[in-house]
């Protein structure tokens, strides 16, 4: 349970930070798409008996760069690109899973999350990569904000928007890969987006939105873990449901 709390805290700080930029850029579905593509990494990891976690980061990062490259070419709309990648990734993953001998408990850990079985080694991996992602956000904060908020304006102002977009795409990919052990591939988008949406409803600046989204995610993770522990429920689901309860409360308070 201690490892679960530590991993949950790290991801609760990381996922909504990226989620705010994802919403700002209006690409909320990219997290779900990359999460489905992450299954390819998991399947390759299971087949080759290598660490699925690292293979997944590689696969999702490559996919994120490809998605961004197609998006920047503006020949196909963004939602269509995601609609191509999401089932495509899932189809490849299912074939690989089938080749590896079918569904097993390991795969279910990634599909639905398994925060309570996270090892010390995984905690270190998550902590180091999360620090790198948060550090890069801090270093490139103004540029990422400008580029996500108004890409054309940022490009005209001389910012290297192409590289900033690739950077953000890889940061999203890494965050998805880190979060999937917590809430599972199927719910990872929710942990990134729902606390950010709740925060954006009450925040009086983007920085305030970043702050409140982390607070909401922390409440959701701790509340969800407690509920999972006492009622013997899957932690990923309780965390996401707790996020939705917070969203409902914030919305009700506003109305």
């Amino acid at each position: 349970m201690t490892n679960a709390m530590i991993a949950g805290t790290i991801i609760a700080c990381l996922a909504p930070l990226i989620g705010n930029f994802v919403l700002l850029k209006r690409i909320a579905l990219i997290s779900d798409t990359l999460a489905h593509l992450a299954l390819i990494g998991v399947a390759i990891g299971l087949i080759t008996h290598t660490q699925p976690f690292l293979v997944t980061i590689l696969v999702t990062s490559i996919a994120a760069i490809l998605i961004e490259k197609m998006r920047s070419q503006k020949k196909i709309s963004e939602d269509t690109i995601l609609a191509l990648f999401l089932p495509g990734g899932l189809a490849i993953a299912l074939i690989l899973v089938s080749l590896s001998g079918g569904l097993n408990a390991n795969l279910f850990d990634y599909l639905f999350g398994s925060i309570t079985t996270i090892s010390n080694a995984e905690i270190y991996q998550i902590a180091i990569l999360a620090m790198i992602v948060i550090g890069l956000i801090a270093i490139f904060y103004k540029q990422l904000l400008f580029s996500s908020f108004d890409e054309e304006g940022a490009k005209v102002a001389g910012l290297p928007t192409k590289w900033l977009n690739y950077l953000l795409a890889v940061l999203i990919a890494v965050t998805v890969s880190l979060s999937m052990r917590i809430v599972g591939v199927l719910l990872v988008g929710a942990l990134m987006v729902i606390p950010s949406v709740s925060a954006m409803r009450i925040a009086q600046s983007f920085k305030a939105s970043l702050f409140w989204s982390v607070i909401f995610a922390l409440i959701a993770v701790f509340g969800g873990l407690m509920a999972a522990f006492y009622f013997n429920l899957p932690a990923g689901s309780t965390i996401v449901l707790m996020s939705l309860v917070i969203f409902a409360l914030v919305t009700a308070r506003q109305n």
Binding site: L23, L24, K142, F146, F149, V156, G158, A199, Q204, S205
Partner: protein
């Protein structure tokens, strides 16, 4: 005294899906110009702007942009941000400008009191002024605006054009403004550029009084309605 040429476009052609959007368009913009660009929908105005901005590449011709300091206020720049909690000062801070410059830009655009307000809570006219303030912070020499006063009420429009005149005359900012509001353009700018795939006219704004010119640009009968009759 010769004026400094900031933009020199020669024989620009651009096609999209095999349809010719710009057909051998040549245009010079000098320092201090205040140009209104008019033309029908699909006439190539926004495409020409994007070629000037470097967002699109011409299929042929030569685009020489002397000033690298161009700022762009897009059509409906603020509209799409209705859901997002971005404050006015955050829009300005993202340029990396110093605090003293931000204070000055807010003062010029008459937004000092709105500094901590959310962009989504401002009127359309105020939102456009925020983007102009941001343009000032990038040390722009040329300000390009695409349909900036769509959805802006009469009073805010007047304030907006007062601001543009001030920036042009007192801050030496060259301005290119695309608009469908021909009557406003005729009243507010010094020069006009009429585009309908080809460059139809580039000269004094007074030429807009000529019905034949408008007919040539828009292909149908158009009449200038004095602005105060709106």
């Amino acid at each position: 005294m010769t004026q400094k040429t900031l933009i020199n476009l020669q024989e620009i052609c651009f096609a999209y899906n095999q349809e010719l959007i710009l057909d051998h368009v040549s245009l010079r913009v000098e320092k201090g110009d205040f140009i209104g660009m008019i033309g029908p929908n699909g006439g190539g105005k926004t495409t020409l702007l994007k070629i000037i901005l470097g967002l699109l590449k011409a299929d042929s011709g030569h685009a020489e942009i002397q000033s690298k300091k161009i700022a762009y206020v897009a059509q409906h720049a603020g509209y799409k941000q209705h859901f997002l909690p971005i404050s006015v000062e955050e829009v300005l801070q993202m340029t990396g400008a110093k605090e003293s410059a931000i204070i000055q830009a807010l003062a010029i655009t008459n937004l000092s009191e709105k500094r901590e307000r959310l962009l989504r809570d401002l009127s359309v006219g105020q939102q456009q002024r925020v983007f102009i303030a941001r343009a000032l912070l990038t040390q722009a020499e040329i300000l390009i605006l695409d349909e900036p006063t769509v959805g802006v009420d009469q009073q805010a429009q007047n304030q907006f054009y007062d601001l543009l005149r001030d920036l042009n005359q007192n801050h030496k900012l060259s301005i290119i403004l695309v608009s469908h509001e021909i009557d406003l353009i005729a009243k507010e700018v010094k020069q006009i550029v009429c585009i309908n795939k080809k460059l139809i006219y580039h000269g004094q704004a007074a030429a807009l009084q000529d019905k034949k010119l408008l007919q040539k640009v828009f292909g149908t009968h158009q009449q200038l309605i004095p602005h105060h009759q709106h």
